[in-house]
């Protein structure tokens, strides 16, 4: 047991499988076999920081140590990428603003409240981006508008609440949106009027019981999250999304992500410049929720 030992033996295939399986069951992320060495490099920092001498010991730690919960969160944090920025994949956002939001306005006109969920929101840029677009659209004045963001990492959720960002978060921000940010000595802060629509929570997307906390939502953004998941976890999360969406609600995935290989009851909605998914409006739809074949 030596802190920051550099002599941790390479991760054996069995150790990789045990750790990968354990982490996968916890949060859905699955590391491909040929990425084993990336996992090895990232986790070896944890192994040595804890003064352990092998990845097998680390697996043991994650299973039995009194601090196992905190450590599992750290492991996930080390293994996942929290990469995000404002106005990411702008063309989809424009399609959302110009084509989806008007439909949602019709959909929710009676109750005059709109709820959007950014699932796997990382440090919050996506959540604030959506709030800005909704504000800009002018369609929801005097409505109750809420955007919920959740993430499995406490660290990013804390950053999200802080709402202060450095230059790299703005690498794709069109100039017209600069007015939604205020300069501070530490970076640019999201305007309080936008901030007040946004709420953040720390929970795991696989925990469908906790997901109930977002209530019924009109749209879900889950971009660049499911690509890291295995099929089973994707299936469960998509099912949760289906349950959380109100009929006619939309699901937006990242570019190059699709539900092509998943059995799902979502239908494809063709927008002018994008393809998104929609929960069928009619409850008597031929598509039973969890298991319509492609």
């Amino acid at each position: 047991m030596v802190l920051f030992s550099n002599n941790i033996p390479p991760m054996r295939i069995e150790e990789f499988r045990l750790l990968n399986g354990f982490i996968n069951r916890f949060c859905g992320i699955k590391i491909d076999d040929d990425m084993r060495f990336v996992a090895e490099r990232k986790l070896s920092e944890r192994v040595s920081a804890l003064g352990l001498s092998s990845f097998g010991d680390y697996y043991h730690y994650l299973r039995y140590h009194p601090d196992k919960k905190a450590e599992l969160e750290r492991a996930v944090d080390v293994l996942t990428t929290n990469e995000t920025y404002f106005f990411r994949e702008f063309s989809q956002l424009v399609a959302f603003r110009d084509e989806v939001l008007p439909r949602l306005r019709e959909l929710a006109a009676r109750k005059r409240s709109l709820t959007i969920w950014s699932a796997g929101c990382s440090s919050g840029e996506e959540v604030y981006t959506l709030a800005i677009l909704i504000s800009q659209s002018g369609l929801f004045k005097n409505w109750d508008v809420r955007i919920f963001g959740n993430d499995i990492s406490r660290r990013v959720i804390q950053n999200a609440r802080r709402a202060i960002y450095s230059a790299s978060s703005f690498r794709a921000t069109p100039a017209e949106y600069e007015c939604y940010f205020i300069d501070t000595p530490e970076g640019k802060m999201v305007d309080p009027s936008v901030r007040s629509m946004c709420h953040f929570g720390h929970f795991n997307l696989l925990d469908d019981a906790r997901a109930v906390m977002v209530g019924r939502v009109e749209a879900i953004f889950c971009r660049n999250v499911l690509i890291y998941f295995d099929q089973t976890a994707r299936k469960n999360v998509i099912q949760t999304f289906y349950q959380r969406l109100c009929p006619g609600g939309y699901l937006m995935l990242g570019h190059s992500e699709s539900l092509l290989h998943d059995s799902t009851a979502f239908e494809l909605a063709h927008l002018l410049s994008d393809l998104v998914y929609r929960k069928p409006l009619s409850a008597r739809s031929l598509f039973p929720p969890e298991m319509v074949k492609r």
């Binding site: 802190l3 920051f4 299973r63 039995y64 009194p66 230059a167 690509i227 039973p288």
Partner: protein, 681 residues
């Protein structure tokens, strides 16, 4: 609920009442149960169907409803029922295979596709002939499903069956077959692939297969494909080229030669794929562009490493590019946003570290960029730079590193500790003088204490004793680990007292250390305190003490540990068996047999290890029980252990298991174990 109540509840208008009734079916017996369950599978509410699927998953075989499930997928009125039945049959896998095989020739044409789909999940080689048959029959939808199923099943037989379809007169079959082989990542001989490249319809899919054949002839069509318009074709070609480059050396060399003079236009296309392709295409493209030494793609390679990490091939490609790649990476460090900088720094340093030699001008460049980045605002940049400096640091860096450690958080401090340790190998005096006056507490305490221990020196004891009073628990833990390396009798009381530390983690460390402490005569000093710790509050500490007692070699620990094998705290049970193994206790028969049935697989694994060590006439039959365990890692361990026992019964057990073992890694282990018994599989 009684049967009658369930029957009534199932007709309720409230879906939740029906769902609950279905859940209650699980415990019921009787002929009618199967029929009720089937009806529930066709319920109009999906939650009821879902519950029915849950129950049926466990009970379908017992209730003998498999033929009814096949009927359910053949009817056309109730889609919900059909999908639920299909899902079930798929999940039942091999258990449903026989019924499905019987049904295949009899079901109506429109339903055959579903039967084939379900068979795909029952994946074993028995069903292959039936699938080949289905593929050769007229209906193209069934044929497609059958070829799909073959690729889902995989294995040599399935591959051969798919390869046989490559010469089918029906181009649709050829296409589905090559697509299936691609999904399996099968290696198809060049001679079988070459004719497909002139086949207009199939060519695009075939391109994705030719890289795997490892033949130099495959290079030409792949390079040609890079000039085509279709992104799909270019993607397939680049994946193929990446595969060829990882193949035999002469082939890789040929590809590398041609890559070095790729036209600007093709480079531009490849860069587009690197930025926008799917995950796999991005990885292959990055590799190919490294081999092409494409300077302009470095930025996107860094992006890729941030998003997904780089595959070993890309790392090898960067390595081949050598100092040039390091220079490019260092150049981008100053041009990219903070969030990417750590990745660029890490890559540059990792590659430079593995190069056989690095020019002195490049070393200076690395040093100056790391030193500048060490004081950056972003914590990840700082950590990457400190780690990067490890190989290249000089005496003058020692003091800066200690200062940074003292004034930053734990992660930075650990990075500093590691780099200082590496530096101490080259410049011990400089590191020692820098650490001497450092404060051993706070986030950096643990790292600096560890460093101090590694450096040795006369004042260690006093410094460590002081560090035991640090506010930071990790520092106290590091101090304990350091004390453990000193004379046992001098430090025993300090370490024993740490069992009363307010931090569980420190207590656990104290217990582990106590197990190893010896007096001058080599006798264990910690047994009494550890026995006391076995009654502590935290299961973590009890487990640490149990395991440490094994290290003491003290036979007094045997009885208390035996009592703990039955502990309901899994970590304690695991540790108790470990401890007993270490103590060489052999009279564990009954306890171990019990432990084999423990719900936690780690307990089972420890029991298996113990049984193997103790040996005896019943060891083989007991370890063989492990071959049937639900967890793959238990089966693998059992196989490994049986490989080490030279007895025919062990080989028999392994051979029998090999017939049904579904897990590839476990199969490999069984085969290795059998080969130790002189059997070639």
């Amino acid at each position: 609920m009684t049967l009658q109540e369930i029957r009534t509840a199932l007709t309720s208008v409230d879906a939740e009442v029906r769902r609950q009734a279905v859940a209650d079916i699980e415990a019921m017996e009787g002929k009618e149960i199967g029929a009720l369950l089937l009806a529930a599978l066709g319920d109009e509410d999906w939650r009821v169907r879902k519950e029915a699927v849950n129950v049926a998953r466990k009970q379908a075989v017992r209730l003998d409803i498999l033929p009814d499930l096949v009927d359910a997928i053949c009817q056309e009125e109730n889609f919900g029922l059909r999908n639920a039945a299909l899902e079930l049959l798929e999940e039942l896998g091999t258990r449903a295979a026989e019924v499905l095989l019987d049904a295949l020739p009899q079901v109506p044409d429109y339903a055959r596709k579903f039967v084939v789909e379900a068979l795909a999940c029952g994946g074993d080689e028995r069903v292959i002939p039936a699938l080949v048959n289905a593929a050769n029959q007229g209906d193209s939808i069934v044929a497609a499903a059958a070829l799909d199923a073959l690729s889902a099943i995989g294995g040599t037989e399935a591959e051969l069956a798919l390869r046989a379809q490559l010469v089918s007169p029906d181009s649709f079959h050829r296409m589905a077959a090559i697509d299936g082989l691609n999904r399996l990542g099968a290696i198809v001989p060049w001679e079988e692939l070459a004719p497909l490249l002139t086949d207009r319809l199939v060519r695009r899919v075939a391109l994705a297969a030719i890289g795997r054949c490892g033949r130099v002839e495959a290079a030409e069509p792949l390079f040609q494909a890079l000039s085509e318009k279709s992104t799909y074709v270019i993607s397939a070609a680049v994946v193929g080229l990446a595969q060829l480059s990882s193949g035999p050396r002469e082939v890789a060399q040929e590809v590398a030669n041609r890559l070095s003079d790729l036209s600007q236009e093709i480079r531009r296309r490849l860069r587009f794929l690197l930025a926008k392709g799917s995950k796999d295409v991005q990885q292959s493209t990055a590799y190919v562009l490294c081999l092409a030494r494409d300077r302009e793609s470095i930025f996107d390679i860094v992006e890729l490493s941030v998003s997904y990490g780089l595959s070993p091939s890309i790392m090898a490609g960067l390595q081949q590019w050598g100092q040039g790649a390091v220079r490019e990476l260092l150049d981008v460090v100053s041009r990219i946003p903070d969030s990417r900088r750590p990745a660029a720094i890490e890559l540059a340093c990792e590659i430079s570290r593995k190069l056989p030699s690095v020019d002195s001008e490049l070393v200076s460049k690395i040093r100056s960029i790391m030193r500048a980045s060490m004081v950056a605002k972003d914590e990840d940049v700082v950590i990457a730079a400190i780690r990067g400096l490890s190989e290249w640091s000089e005496a003058r860096d020692a003091e800066t590193l200690v200062k940074i450690a003292e004034t930053s958080g734990e992660d930075i401090a650990i990075a500093c500790g590691k780099t200082l340790l590496a530096l101490a190998q080259r410049e011990p005096a400089a590191v020692e003088s820098a650490v001497r006056s450092a404060k051993l507490d706070g986030p950096a305490g643990a790292s600096l204490v560890t460093l101090l221990v590694a450096l040795g020196g006369p004042n260690r004891f006093q410094a460590l004793e002081e560090a035991l009073n640090a506010q930071d628990a990790a520092t106290r833990k590091a101090a304990l680990l350091g004390l453990a390396e000193l004379d046992g009798s001098k430090v025993a009381d300090l370490i024993t007292f740490a069992l009363a530390d307010e931090s569980v983690d420190v207590q656990m460390t104290a217990a582990a250390v106590l197990g190893r402490l010896r007096d001058e005569d080599g006798r264990a000093i910690g047994t009494d305190s550890l026995l006391l710790a076995l009654t502590g509050e935290s299961s973590g500490v009890r487990a640490a003490a149990a395991q440490a007692l094994g290290e003491t070699g003290d036979q007094r620990a045997i009885e208390p540990l035996r009592n703990l094998v039955r502990s309901t705290d899994q970590d304690v049970a695991v540790a108790a068996i470990k401890g007993l193994r270490k103590l060489g206790e052999v009279a564990l028969d009954e306890l171990l047999l019990e432990a084999l049935g423990h719900e936690d697989e780690e307990v089972v694994k420890q029991a298996l290890l113990s049984i193997a060590e103790i040996g005896g006439s019943r060891a083989i039959s007991r370890i063989s029980m492990g071959l049937e365990h639900a967890a793959w890692d238990v089966r693998q361990l059992a196989a490994n252990l049986l490989g080490g026992l030279s007895d025919r019964a062990a080989a028999d057990a392994l051979r029998t298991r090999l017939d049904t073992e579904p897990d590839e890694l476990v199969r490999v282990t069984i085969k290795q174990a059998l080969s130790k018994h002189g059997e070639i599989t």
